[in-house]
Symmetry: C2
Subunit: 352 residues, 2 copies
């Protein structure tokens, strides 16, 4: 009988033999084998060439024994397929251009044809499912509509999100129109990834934490509920991640996401206590804690495991993407620390 | 018999005739009279010339009828007086230099001599107390040690606070040494402001919200408790403000600050419920909500007042500093909305 990968078991609050672990941005610049490929291929070429995307996705799994692989891609590719112009500036980061968007002109954006415009993503997902060992789960993902909207409106990242907020405050109807269009695209995109073989889905609503709870409930929550309600959770569990959004924990509970990804600003024990045993949780080590000396890091990881794995449904991860300068030894130590942590009273569940 | 300004009454959870209001950065670039002065005088000159600092501090009080004035100054002036180099770059914002600080060399920093090095601050405070009407309270302030430490270590503002966090993770003992030195200076500085006539004190720990609760408890909390414990709360109530720190609400409760300033990421009703009637609260409108159309803004302010003023001890404010592009009409509307809000059952307390 086939054993479900422990990552997927944890997503369903089922017993596991060890705590599953993966790291956001685990395929990335802190890896020498990644940097080597990047000297030859620009970032977007790597995303759009299935063989390269597959190779990079597998790198951290092969090196560290991660329990899940997340498709190497970028949340902004969906915007490009919808009609926005996209390029990556080495200095300034990603730049997005979409004519008329600040005036509320949503008609320039179209729900993409997956097979024509995002075929490379679906192809990479298919190849990855063949390449990955059976016990390593494949996670597909998308940016969530609000976070995608911020990139469209700001043209990149922002400190204050001035343009996004003045847009939604001054033209709430246009903002809702934009959210509706983006939600359609996100749902189609995620369904296509599941169809191609993604076994779980992570929705990155990285910037939703800039909103007050009232604004979140008005401008974000209904769209997330609609998207999450339209996905086949029985086939592919969903994970919701947002940065600095631990104050929105009650709202997050009602999104309909299977698993909640937390950043490091909330105590994992407190979060599990507030969310209860029926809500699996993923997180939440500060990525910069990987710069701690070895012994301190071990102690930090242990403390986190005692809090996180106090009930079933826990996936170890960072509270945000891993930093490009992270020492490799810390990642080895972290994965070893997680995998050697004794999970109480669950051994009998393993051969199910 | 003298009536205590309503701002100070609210700081003590005493009954008020109307809800007091002031805005963080209320003396600043959104005011034409401020911009006019700035065309003649550089920012630091304005801070260091008592007559100018006084004039600018009074501007929003005179224009809008604010219930409190906050001394026009900058949190980084304390660092300069301690030995750091400071300049304001029009493009990049404040730049701080302090030789050897990243190597943990705290000895270059000294607790300043108030009378010699920060006389201009104390002089402005004195003049302000004479210039202000009796019913308008004067707030002194300082950056809190952690936030000051981030500027010293990063050399300015930061998105990820990489240098600060890797410093504290790798050299916790040096970081504690730095916090100790900064705490001494902050306490002396605040005592001198109270001595000169400040009627309340706000401690800005703007960046403390970047820390996990465990790290906050280890690296920040004890220093805040020490400073706040050393101030004469009966003479000058204390307000603690931090950005994105609503997840640290339980920790904030134990700081010893009289009033908690909240950013917009927590619902004011939820916060008051969790903190209880004995903890006065200040906040927390998203500064960018001042870009809402008039009718929407009025409704937003009403909703906030119903939540905030549901129990005594509420001061209306923004959740962060006012944005330089804020329309003046919005500020007029806001202040009028707050002052016309009926405060239930407190009229008998007014002639105390």
């Amino acid at each position: 009988m086939k054993v479900l990968p422990r990552f997927l078991r944890a997503c369903r609050s089922e017993p596991v033999d060890r705590v599953p672990v993966w790291l956001m941005r685990q395929a990335g610049r802190y890896l020498p084998e990644y940097r080597k490929l990047r000297t030859i291929h620009p970032f977007l070429e790597m995303c759009k060439t299935p063989a390269l995307a597959v190779e990079v996705t597998l790198q951290p799994v092969e090196r560290f024994g991660m329990d899940a692989a997340i498709l190497f891609s970028d949340i902004l590719l969906l915007l490009e397929s919808m009609g926005a112009e996209l390029h990556f500036d080495e200095q300034r980061g990603p730049r997005v251009r979409c004519e008329g968007i600040r005036e509320g002109a949503v008609h320039g954006l179209r729900v993409p044809d997956m097979d024509r415009q995002l075929r490379f993503v679906l192809e990479a997902v298919k190849q990855l499912r063949e390449a990955l060992p059976e016990d390593v789960a494949l996670i597909g993902f998308s940016g969530a509509p609000f976070t995608l909207a911020t990139y469209l409106i700001e043209g990149g990242t922002s400190r204050t999100f001035f343009d996004t907020k003045t847009f939604l405050y001054r033209n709430p109807a246009s903002f809702h129109g934009l959210m509706g269009k983006l939600s359609e695209a996100v749902e189609v995109y995620l369904l296509a990834q599941i169809e191609a073989g993604a076994q779980a889905i992570q929705l990155f609503d990285t910037w939703a934490g800039i909103l007050s709870p009232d604004d979140y409930r008005e401008f974000v929550l209904p769209y997330m509920q609609r998207i999450l309600g339209g996905l086949p959770a029985d086939r592919a569990p969903t994970i919701h991640f947002s940065l600095g959004a631990s104050t929105l924990l009650d709202e997050m509970k009602s999104l309909g996401a299977g698993v909640l990804g937390l950043d490091w600003r909330i105590d994992l024990g407190v979060a599990r206590g507030r969310l209860g045993p029926s809500k699996p949780v993923q997180g939440n080590l500060d990525p910069l804690a990987l710069f701690q000396p070895r012994e301190t890091l071990r102690a930090t990881v242990s403390t986190m495991l005692r809090k996180g794995a106090s009930m079933p449904g826990y996936i170890f991860n960072l509270g945000h993407g891993i930093h490009p300068q992270t020492p490799l030894e810390s990642v080895y130590d972290l994965v070893e620390g997680v995998h050697s942590f004794p999970v109480a009273g669950t051994a009998e569940g393993l051969s199910v």
